[in-house]
């Protein structure tokens, strides 16, 4: 692998000059420039990023920490971030935490040791001192610790929208309360709860331990066993909604005639369920993108208008909810 020295030798100039043409700064005579370029071409030279990063004490890498890329909500966040970051020549060091503290800490450590230019983290532990005592800028995704730069979506409104979507046409509503340790899930929950409490409906709450399909399946069976009269279900994410939908159909219920179901997230697969799932859309791709933009401006030390970005959510009516009649 050719180094800057080789190029310098081949072009009959000093490494300083090569560096100048490489970075296009400082003066360099047109003729020597072409000579250097020719040498680079001939030697098939490309600069060693590692050496560069060492000198600059900063790499062109960004750390991206996600709970689990296997959960369909996250790939979109990742793509949004990646696409935006690439435009500025940054690349991703990527890691899944599985929401385990020690994995998260290990990745943070990796990010620091590799002197990433910045970090985007979807974490349950934004208040870790490991985050505050960090040299690199951090943008939190899907979590909004006071004062820190973050991108999230409006879970409270989302929860309300979900409840409103079915509250007028269901009599016995079941509200699935997502994992207690996830603030985002709790925002949705409280939003929905607010609407249900103000409406004149019978409703019950079921606690759910996780977002996984396995757990959701068990939960769905339990749900119908305990509350057979349920005719409206507000799930805390789409996977859960799919499991419930599944179980409802298996029991011969008609959806949305007998029972309405609304999910949350709008993962790509929701459209592909049958019937297509009505849900609350979080703009995942755009959230990733915004997080990247925000991080980029912090890296470039640009003045920021807002540092806690909240993205809007949207009710996507598909076929697991009935068309709402004009409100009385």
């Amino acid at each position: 692998m050719a180094t800057i020295k080789d190029v310098a030798g081949a072009a009959g100039v000093s490494v300083a000059t090569v560096s100048r043409v490489l970075n296009d700064n400082g003066y360099v005579h047109e003729e020597t420039r072409t000579r250097v370029m020719a040498a680079m071409e001939k030697l098939n030279y490309y600069p060693n990023e590692v050496a560069r990063s060492l000198y600059k004490r900063e790499s062109r890498l960004i750390g991206l920490l996600l709970p689990d890329i296997t959960n369909p909500f996250f790939p979109q966040l990742a793509r949004g971030a990646e696409d935006e970051l690439n435009r500025e020549g940054y690349r991703l060091i990527f890691g899944n935490s599985d929401e385990e503290l020690n994995k998260e800490l290990e990745y943070l450590q990796t990010f620091k040791q590799n002197h990433v230019a910045g970090i985007i983290a979807a974490t349950n532990y934004p208040h870790l001192e490991e985050y505050s005592g960090i040299d690199q800028p951090v943008v939190f995704l899907d979590r909004t610790p006071e004062g820190a730069p973050s991108v999230s979506s409006d879970g409270h409104t989302g929860g309300k929208l979900a409840a409103e979507a079915i509250v007028h046409r269901s009599k016995h509503i079941t509200l699935l309360k997502g994992p207690a340790h996830l603030p985002t899930a709790q925002d949705r929950f409280h939003g929905a709860l607010e609407v249900l409490q103000q409406a004149d409906v019978d409703f019950q709450i079921i606690e759910t331990a996780s977002f996984s399909f396995k757990d959701a399946q068990a939960l769905a069976k339990e749900l119908f066993a305990i509350y057979p009269e349920t005719d409206g279900i507000i799930a805390s994410n789409d996977i859960q909604a799919a499991a419930v939908l599944h179980e409802a159909l298996r029991r011969g219920k008609k959806v949305p005639e007998d029972i309405q179901i609304i999910g949350y997230d709008d993962i790509p697969q929701s459209e592909l369920l049958f019937p297509p799932l009505s849900t609350i859309k979080q703009p995942a791709y755009d959230m990733g993108k915004e997080a990247a933009k925000l991080l980029l401006s912090i890296i470039k030390k640009q003045p920021l208008a807002e540092t806690a970005i909240q993205m809007p959510v949207m009710y996507i009516r598909r076929n697991t909810t009935r068309k709402e009649e004009k409100d009385a």
Copy 2:
């Protein structure tokens, strides 16, 4: 950020000694070791990976190139690779190519410039000279160029299994031929074709341009319009199968009574369709894992038993295929 020099200073030794305790090699007196360790502790020191990589001309990073993490098949590959690699302390630089040559080349370039220890690539262009003229070891995933280390699954057998799963109980089979430029899709196709040709059934082939849900939706509509008598469909992946299933149900067909459908891949969402999708499982997570293992042994220059690993596929019977009667 403390450097090795600071530690050396604090411990009253040379950087060489610190380096020795850091890497646990060479002789170092027990007492000085503890002194050094104490200093590291006190200064909250951690080694700079960038400097290390520069000297060693190799980082602890592995390049992972995937077509699109947004496609549910790939996150599992990624996780399999990540989990295995982490066990040895390697991390991932991750990139999506979107099957675009120039994006792929850019990522390859990034991998080289960052002196990754190795590369795992799910690519359509394994024969690029950029791959052969590369210093780092490369393992191809989901593609098997002659002679190069690779991990894939047995698409031909998979295709046969798919066809066999429905051939005896459907009379008018539609075989969806996946994207022509994807060898894996073509393997499946030919496997299935072989079975159909040998069986006494009426069948037709439909070309499909992509694996995307959008395209698959259009294709599904077309399919039923052109071949309304179809009672068995072999899709070239699960997304496609889902779209077809969707359309079948929309048209009031009963699945699997009126029409059998079989997918390919066994993405996590397949189980969550209604009815749950019968499909051919590719062990994606394990494929990622095997690719990582293979790469690791190449990096460590261990002798390899086999360099082109082929993983088995499996028929997963769920509810879009009918139980097969004992063959006559």
